[in-house]
């Protein structure tokens, strides 16, 4: 069998890469960074630990940033927010103007055809002082392109301040709300999809109540100079374990969350991706975003293909790229993420299928190494979300 080769090329390091390597993690290249794919426990145990306790993930390869007005001197704080929201709303089809202070929204960055350039989080700061700025976190793979697009559309009005030299970590799982108190006790009171900045003994720390596992949890932006100390304090807590990218992938797949470059790409619209909930009613009514014609038509008439879950009637996993056929052997779709769900206890997959076959319960065949494996279309998530709902 062919094993993944050892790394040799020059990789970018996160402020925490060295710590993970010292802890004995298996390190791999991911989006150009030297990242831990798994620790000594292995993917299954790490996955289950996160669902039952608290997992700590290094996501410093991603792109946290502030997007700020160049000049807000003559504007009230609320006017400044409306002004910066209007800069990005043409390319981000979510209600940015209507964000409450501290609120985060998940959205997509659209190209001229309504395809998805990236998926991202956009948030409105809390303080008066910070109005006229947005906290935006984009994916690692396309961060430079995304920021260039933001700077182009905001030329002369707003600019990106990248924060990706710092440590961005995710603390996820039912015990995260206790463990976060090690960093900032008040952060435990954040609402789901809210964020704020907290003054800590490690300087100012930005914490959001969000994540990519389906569990309650936080994403924490720590200054690069103090992050090691803070991370070591978190890891000293018996409920917290470091978790690799392998379990991050199986956790997000069970939660039915998309991975850019696999479940989302430049040709797929938010409606095809079953992300219509990310386009608020006011944006649909105003139809003031890129390719709104395509997107509103798909909303009205249904898209031609749709992202669905796959329920396996068989034990064999089916991976990305596996063809999906109807009962007559016609190709009706393709798997975009497939693997094994440790909490589910079996294989699972996300796929795009012709909308005629997208109804839950539709029987399909997965063509795995030439053998038709029976499966059914299902809803997602595969494992119920456990978000913080006070």
């Amino acid at each position: 069998m062919r094993l993944r080769g050892e790394m040799s090329q020059e990789l970018l390091q996160t402020p925490l890469s060295g710590l993970w390597a010292e802890m004995g993690a298996r390190m791999v290249e991911f989006a150009g960074y030297n990242m831990p794919v798994q620790f000594k426990d292995g993917v299954i145990k790490e996955h289950i630990w996160t669902r039952e306790n608290a997992g700590l993930f290094d996501v410093s390869h991603m792109g946290p940033s502030n997007y700020e007005l160049l000049d807000k001197s003559n504007l009230t704080p609320d006017e400044a927010h409306i002004k910066i929201a209007k800069v990005l709303e043409p390319i981000l089809p979510c209600d940015i103007q209507g964000l409450k202070r501290g609120q985060i929204r998940y959205t997509t960055l659209l190209n001229d055809d309504g395809g998805i350039i990236d998926d991202l989080m956009v948030a409105r700061p809390v303080s008066d002082f910070d109005q006229g700025g947005l906290y935006i976190v984009v994916n690692a793979g396309g961060k430079n392109d995304d920021w260039r697009i933001f700077d182009e559309i905001g030329a002369g009005i707003a600019k990106t301040i990248r924060l990706d030299e710092n440590a961005l970590v995710a603390l996820q799982g039912p015990k995260a709300k206790e463990a976060i108190k090690i960093i900032a006790p008040e952060a435990a009171n954040l609402g789901f999809m809210n964020f704020d900045k907290f003054t800590t003994k490690w300087g100012e720390v930005t914490i959001s109540r969000s994540g990519y596992t389906g569990e309650d949890g936080f994403e924490i932006l720590l200054g690069k100079d103090f992050c090691l100390e803070a991370i070591n304090e978190l890891l000293a807590n018996e409920d917290v374990k470091a978790i690799g990218l392998g379990a991050r992938d199986s956790l997000r797949l069970e939660a039915g969350l998309c991975l850019y470059g696999h479940d989302l790409d430049n040709s797929i619209s938010p409606i095809e991706a079953d992300l219509k909930w990310t386009i608020q009613k006011c944006r649909r009514e105003r139809a003031d975003f890129k390719a709104s014609e395509r997107i509103l038509a798909e909303l009205a008439n249904g898209p031609s293909r749709k992202r669905v879950g796959i329920e396996f009637l068989d034990k064999a996993p089916a991976r990305e790229g596996v063809e999906i056929q109807d009962q007559d052997g016609n190709k009706i779709g393709i798997i975009t993420s497939g693997g094994f769900g440790p909490s589910l206890g079996g294989p699972l997959a996300m796929a795009y299928v012709d909308s005629k076959f997208a109804e839950i319960g539709t029987p399909v065949n997965l063509m795995v190494r030439g053998v038709a494996r029976p499966a059914k279309i299902c809803g997602m998530p595969f494992v119920p979300h456990n978000y913080y709902r006070p």
């Binding site: 069998m1 062919r2 094993l3 993944r4 050892e6 794919v37 798994q38 292995g42 993917v43 299954i44 996955h47 392998g246 379990a247 992938d249 199986s250 034990k315 064999a316 996993p317 991976r319 693997g339 094994f340 440790p342 294989p347 190494r369």
Partner: protein, 123 residues
């Protein structure tokens, strides 16, 4: 009985005319948690270097290559209910297939245990 190894981390243990084929503990450790194994059906003839089995970890599927030309006598049916055996006992209970060796001279081209150990250290 003798055990030989390939550079792709398969082992083959011959016992008279038949042999057992599996992957080494090193390969199993590198792979991580095995969640599914596809073993070959009896009667299938497989050329050296072609896939004789598929092992799937949480993250990926990997082919296991036939170390020599062979005909399958039996696939390890136990693995379908207990794929984790590949992790816990890669070089004993975690075998994939019993095969009939078509051309015994091909075995001479493989590494013995000492050579495989030296090979691992060179990686």
């Amino acid at each position: 009985m003798s055990v030989k190894f390939t550079k792709d981390h398969e082992w083959i243990k011959t016992d008279g005319e038949t042999a057992k084929v599996g992957i080494t503990q090193y390969a199993a450790d590198q792979l991580g948690d095995v969640v599914y194994v596809e073993v070959p059906e009896a009667g299938k003839t497989i050329a050296k270097g072609d896939a004789i089995a598929v092992v799937e970890s949480v993250k990926a599927a990997s082919d296991v290559y036939a170390p020599i030309d062979c005909e399958v006598v039996e696939g390890n049916a136990e693995l379908s209910g207990a794929p984790e055996t590949v992790n816990s006992s890669a070089e004993a209970d975690g075998w994939f297939a019993i095969v009939k060796v078509s051309n015994p001279s091909q075995l001479d081209e493989l590494m013995d245990e000492a050579a495989y150990k030296a090979y691992l250290e060179s990686l």
